[in-house]
């Protein structure tokens, strides 16, 4: 399978910090679902922002479909932790935003938006203002707004972290179904071990110093049985990883 995203020797640091990410090397295959997991502050979100093109001053090389990443573009769809929905627009207009910016003719635009809103189950809420929706519904709008533009790559920055456990489970299922349908290559940043195992084909483990510790392939059929022994093995392994990282972090502080 062709790799869509390729990172080689990627390092990054803000001016006032020494270094956040160091020598990141990995590639992501087309249509696959990859999670980035690591302890708090290890730079997972920063890494996703680099891939999205929001932080152009990195060293090394990030390529998407062979092209170097320099700035944000419609090819890298991004779902933000705070969702970043536009509160002055309705559900329909939020989902329509990207197509409008890309000058898609009105007729085509409306059909695509309607279909996408239907796919995320919000048809009845099309004309509602964003403020009247629940957390889970807002999440669906954010996902729909990004997916409707058919980005080659879908980047999700802890999108479910603000939701209650039940809604999160439902949305994880939905995301999996969506991914099966549209097959967009997806990178998810998460701090949840369960979420990473349940959804991903591969998990990139970032250690606390901002380098790749290991890349774990999850060889389990989807949809996955959370109570299976294989699933639990993966869980144990990742839990161990995070615990060790936390311990060495504490030692570093003391």
């Amino acid at each position: 399978m062709a790799s869509v995203v390729q990172l080689e020797n990627v390092s990054f640091g803000y001016r006032d910090h020494s270094s956040i990410l160091q020598d990141i090397d990995f590639s992501i295959n087309e249509n696959s679902f990859v999670s980035i997991l690591g302890p708090s502050g290890c730079g997972k979100s920063t890494l996703l922002n680099l891939i999205a093109g929001f932080l152009p001053n990195y060293s090394g090389s990030i390529q998407i479909e062979g092209k170097p990443v320099k700035k944000p573009s419609k090819d890298q769809g991004f779902v933000f932790q705070d969702l970043a929905l536009f509160p002055w627009l309705t559900v329909f207009k939020n989902v329509e935003f990207g197509l409008r910016m890309q000058n898609i003719p009105k007729g085509t635009r409306e059909v695509k938006v309607r279909d996408m809103i239907e796919l995320v189950g919000l048809t009845a809420y099309s004309s509602f203002p964003i403020s009247s929706l629940s957390g889970g519904m807002k999440q669906r709008v954010a996902l729909a707004r990004t997916l409707v533009t058919e980005p080659g790559l879908l980047l999700l920055d802890e999108p479910f972290s603000a939701l209650d456990a039940q809604t999160r489970d439902v949305l994880q299922e939905e995301l999996l179904t969506l991914h099966n349908n549209v097959k967009t290559t997806t990178i998810l940043v998460t701090h949840s071990i369960d979420e990473a195992i349940y959804l991903s084909d591969q998990i990139v483990l970032l250690s606390k110093n901002g380098s790749v510790k290991e890349i774990v392939n999850i060889d389990l059929e989807k949809p996955r049985d959370r109570s299976s022994s294989h699933y639990n093995e993966y869980q144990r392994k990742l839990y161990e990883f995070l615990r060790n990282e936390r311990q060495s972090l504490n030692e570093g502080v003391i």
Partner: protein
């Protein structure tokens, strides 16, 4: 039938007090509501007052629209550039502390007695309150909104029109409310000291010739016109562009 509101009592209350107090004085000193109403009818028939009202409203609208456009443009640049903002800060503080009215004599010397100095007073009065609010609005745009728009394909002017502008409008409208109140009051005051037309001039002139009914009529009109502009322009503006900010 709609629900009973205490606000329905407010104007009758004032009218009753006014009638009671004015009854203690001869009507050429302190006219009552009926005297002022009679004066309004006779002024309406003469047509002169209508012209003064039109002149004042025309000045207000021209000055205010010019001021709002300039404040939006300067505010967006100031919001985007820290250096420009630093440059503007002392100027804003200085002009905010100066009553716009104080400029009127100089502006009349410079620009004559017509519309120009009055429009200038309105601009001085309303530009800074709107500007400050536009800058504040710019500073409060969440970075993720800009990034989201960029990753959805919004660039340069589209980003400005479809994201920056709607983001700053609620704050800007607060500035417009404040600016409107200050500029209307300043306009009337400026017309009183150095105009030859407008509602302020009407009050000042009638004061000098001792026509108390006309003076009171003018004062009442200032308030009514402000209410009228509020309902006709400001409230619909707020409803159309800023109601989302209240909801979210």
């Amino acid at each position: 039938m709609s629900k009973w509101k205490m606000s329905w009592l407010a104007i009758p209350f004032v009218l009753i007090i006014w009638s009671a107090v004015s009854a203690q004085y001869p009507s050429y000193l302190f006219p009552g509501p009926i005297d002022v109403l009679n004066e309004a009818v006779s002024q309406w028939q003469k047509g002169e007052l209508t012209n003064h009202i039109i002149v004042s409203l025309k000045r207000l609208i021209i000055g205010f629209v010019l001021s709002a456009i300039m404040a939006f443009i300067v505010g967006i640049f100031a919001g985007a550039s820290r250096h420009f903002r630093e440059f503007l800060t002392p100027l804003v503080t200085y002009f905010q502390a100066t009553p716009p009215m104080a400029w009127a004599p100089l502006l009349i010397i410079l620009l004559g007695l017509g519309d120009a100095p009055m429009i200038a007073v309105i601009i001085i009065a309303s530009f800074f309150p709107i500007l400050i609010n536009v800058i504040q609005g710019m500073n409060h745009i969440p970075a993720s909104h800009i990034r989201a728009a960029q990753s959805l394909g919004a660039k340069s002017w589209k980003l400005a029109i479809y994201v920056y502008l709607p983001e700053i409008i609620p704050a800007a409208i607060s500035g417009i409310y404040v600016g409107f109140a200050i500029s209307w009051r300043s306009l009337v005051a400026a017309e009183m000291i150095g105009g030859n037309s407008g509602i302020g001039y009407f009050i000042a002139f009638n004061g000098q010739i001792g026509n108390a009914s006309s003076v009171l009529l003018g004062i009442l009109l200032i308030g009514f016109l402000a209410l009228f502009m509020d309902y006709l322009l400001l409230k619909p503006l707020h409803k159309r562009f800023a109601s989302w900010a209240v909801r979210s």
